[in-house]
């Protein structure tokens, strides 16, 4: 009998979504969809507001990665003012971006994903969360929570508060770095580094433990898109876009991110509020691409800090020398490599004397009617695109968010996992967990990607060929 299985809400991701799995007459999976059913309309209600307010407004899109929206928005403002910001301001913004990576990656790995790994995919869902983790692996959880705190403290030292600071503005930043806080932040580094290394060690054991499951966690070829530095290094704040295919071949390089609309298209589907971006030259849906840690570590030629670079080489070796890492499960590995890089690079930046300059903000009036700001948010490349009138009043806004760019790949992942674990007869708890865990590899933030607000409970529905609901599972 033909059925559709729906998982709603999907837990331990940021936002609200459901998953439906459609079965054919033989009871095998014919399709699976990741539906995002939240809508917020940021792009619309920002119209008519002032360009200068946008970093403060758009950072409110998300409570997890507000600093990334802040930076992308401030950079769009720089473009509209046609300003090159002071060196100190750029260094400070870089530090803020890395702090954002640190706290968000720590949250993704320790708080959201590690309960699956350490307590087991099939353990009691009531306990399979950060509180269960604290109960079973107290020290590990404590370290993870403290690592996130470190990232948040850097943000607080720079921006005056941990969440939703309006610190970055068009033209630079508002407050200089308080040099008296330098030692306080540096004192965190050894512990933070040790925690990431511990996480890496734990993850490698997990790779062994789930050897049988991992090949089915979104293992397929796709394009990878992200920023790289001028000489091809891992980039997080500026640089140019690189597109790599699943075979590790560079398809396009040194693309100007300001022209993103020339090569990245967005498709809508009636069953989700989350759009489906694709790489234009290959069309929809063939132009499916992945962004975020997996893409960034895949596409870069090197990482500038030693420990992270050594891990990148191990990562590359796992992928096979010429090949790209195509298995979405290794998002976790790439995320931890980036986390290690963030901690190392924050330490380097804190020793950089130019961080402590007092020239932090350049001023100008409206010099262009359009500006694109971009950076690498924890979940992937983030674009803020504003059109303004001669007075700086917004006429149109477009935001291309990392999670949206992973939408096609997340759907593909759900389909692959469902095909492997659904037998058509019933909804097994283990299957639910694996589908969720598959989504969680991408660390999706649906609040950001639909610019929508909500929690993420789980609802799974099973439909037959005629679309009749046969089975349902809610928690």
């Amino acid at each position: 009998m033909v059925k559709t299985i729906t998982i709603e809400p999907v837990t331990r991701i940021e936002g609200h979504a459901k998953i439906t799995i459609h079965l054919d007459e033989q009871g095998t999976v014919s399709d699976a969809r990741f539906h995002v059913n939240e809508f917020r309309g940021f792009e619309k209600f920002c119209e008519g507001r002032l360009m200068w307010e946008m970093p403060g407004i758009t950072s409110r899109i998300c409570g997890i990665c507000p600093a990334s929206h802040l930076i992308a928005s401030a950079k769009a403002g720089d473009e509209i003012l046609s300003i090159r910001i002071p060196e100190t301001a750029e260094k400070l913004r870089r530090l803020m971006t890395l702090a954002q990576w640190t706290q968000s990656h720590a949250l993704s790995f320790f708080h959201l994903s590690s309960p699956d790994f350490l307590l087991g995919f099939d353990s009691d869902p009531v306990k399979r969360n950060v509180f269960g983790l604290i109960g079973e692996h107290k020290e590990f959880a404590r370290r993870g929570i403290r690592l996130r705190k470190f990232g948040q403290e850097v943000i607080e030292v720079l921006g005056g508060r941990k969440i939703h600071t309006p610190w970055a503005v068009a033209g630079g930043v508002r407050e200089a770095f308080d040099a008296t806080k330098k030692e306080h932040l540096l004192a965190w580094i050894p512990e933070a580094r040790e925690t990431v290394l511990l996480a890496l060690e734990t993850l490698k054991k997990i790779h062994e433990r789930y050897k049988a499951d991992i090949p089915n966690f979104g293992n397929f070829r796709s394009l990878f898109v992200g920023l790289v530095s001028e000489d091809g290094g891992l980039e997080y704040y500026d640089g140019t876009l690189r597109v790599m295919d699943g075979g590790g071949n560079i398809v396009a390089d040194k693309l100007d991110p300001r022209l993103y609309q020339h090569f990245l298209g967005e498709q809508s589907e009636p069953w989700s509020y989350l759009k489906f971006p694709y790489y234009r030259p290959l069309g929809y849906p063939k132009g499916m691409y992945r962004v975020g840690p997996l893409a960034r570590v895949n596409i870069c030629d090197y990482i500038e800090t030693p420990l992270a670079e050594a891990e990148r080489k191990c990562f590359k070796a796992m992928a096979g020398d010429a090949d790209a890492m195509n298995n979405s499960f290794y998002y976790h590995y790439a995320r931890l490599i980036e986390l290690l890089f963030s901690v190392e690079k924050i330490e380097q930046l804190l020793h950089d004397p130019s961080l402590f300059g007092s020239h932090i903000r350049a001023k100008a009036m409206i010099n262009r009617d359009e500006g694109v700001g971009f950076c690498e948010a924890p979940r992937g490349t983030l674009f803020h695109h504003y059109w303004v009138n001669e007075n700086g009043v917004l006429q149109k806004v477009n935001m291309l968010i990392a999670t949206a760019q992973n939408n096609l790949a997340m759907n593909r992942t759900v389909r692959q996992i469902a095909m492997h674990y659904v037998d058509g007869q019933s909804i097994a708890e283990g299957m639910l967990n694996r589908v969720e865990a598959g989504i969680r590899c991408f660390d999706p933030c649906l609040s950001c990607s639909t610019h929508a607000l909500g929690q993420m409970p789980l609802h799974l529905q099973l439909f037959d060929v005629k679309g009749i609901l046969l089975d349902e599972c809610v928690r």
Binding site: G48, L50, E53, G56, I57, R60, H164, V169, M365, N391
Partner: protein
């Protein structure tokens, strides 16, 4: 000018009969909330926050524009007054588009401070979400009518202190709004001297400096006191009087 004696909140006080009740109360450190009042500008009694109860009268009286009478007995903080003041703040909040979290004057806003003072945690009235215009045509300043509470401080300071009279109130009732010139873009105003006084006296984030970002603007209003004092001492020549 004569001295009168009056009772405010059971306290026997004296004051100058040419001063307002508000002035006398403040001289005696009695707090009465205000929004449209600003020392140095004329009174309009627009916001009604300074309403007080006068014994023997069923009407409430605005303290800012009422002169004391010998033997007057006043109450400034009764339950009824607190209820009305809270309602005024709620109505102001529901009438405009006030998003404190992303406002340029967040943490430096008189309306926000009054909301804290009244312990306003929610608004009982439906929000009107009016569609208001934002005018950024001036080279230095912006008027965002979404946040305007029609206190008319800008109108008065421009007319009475700067002498330019750029601002006026147009329309009626709920459609009332502050306009420059004959409802022209501010940037086209020939009268505006770009002195910025209106921006500094605005109690909320309706009049702001161009380029100011969220929670960045703090308005310093001391300048007005110096100007007024200087005028009283005739340190500046008053054209009308000289003429």
């Amino acid at each position: 000018m004569a001295i009168v004696t009056l009772t405010i909140n059971d306290e026997h006080l004296s004051g100058n009969d040419s001063d307002s009740i508000l002035t006398i109360a403040r001289q005696h450190k009695i707090h009465i909330p205000t929004l449209c009042h600003l020392d140095g500008l004329s009174e309009v009694g627009a916001c009604r926050l300074c309403l007080v109860e006068v014994e023997g009268s069923s009407k409430l009286t605005p303290a800012c524009s009422t002169k004391p009478v010998e033997g007057m007995v006043l109450h400034t903080n009764t339950d009824r007054l607190q209820r009305y003041r809270r309602m005024i703040i709620e109505l102001l909040a529901s009438e405009g588009n006030h998003q404190c979290a992303v406002c340029v004057v967040n943490n430096h806003c008189e309306l926000q401070n009054l909301s804290y003072e009244m312990n306003l945690q929610y608004v009982r009235f439906p929000y009107l979400y009016p569609k208001k215009e934002l005018d950024a045509s001036h080279k230095d300043f912006i008027i965002d009518r979404n946040r305007c509470i029609l206190c008319t401080r800008c109108v008065r300071v421009c007319h009475e202190v700067e002498g330019a009279h750029v601002w006026d109130i147009a329309h009626r009732g709920i459609r009332c709004e502050i306009v420059s010139g004959l409802d022209d873009p501010w940037g086209d105003s020939e009268a505006c001297t770009a002195c910025g006084k209106c921006v500094l006296v605005c109690p909320v984030g309706a009049l702001i400096e161009k380029g100011a970002t969220v929670a960045e603007m703090e308005k310093k209003r001391d300048f007005l006191r110096y100007i007024v004092t200087a005028r009283q001492k005739r340190e500046w020549i008053d054209i009308h009087e000289e003429g």
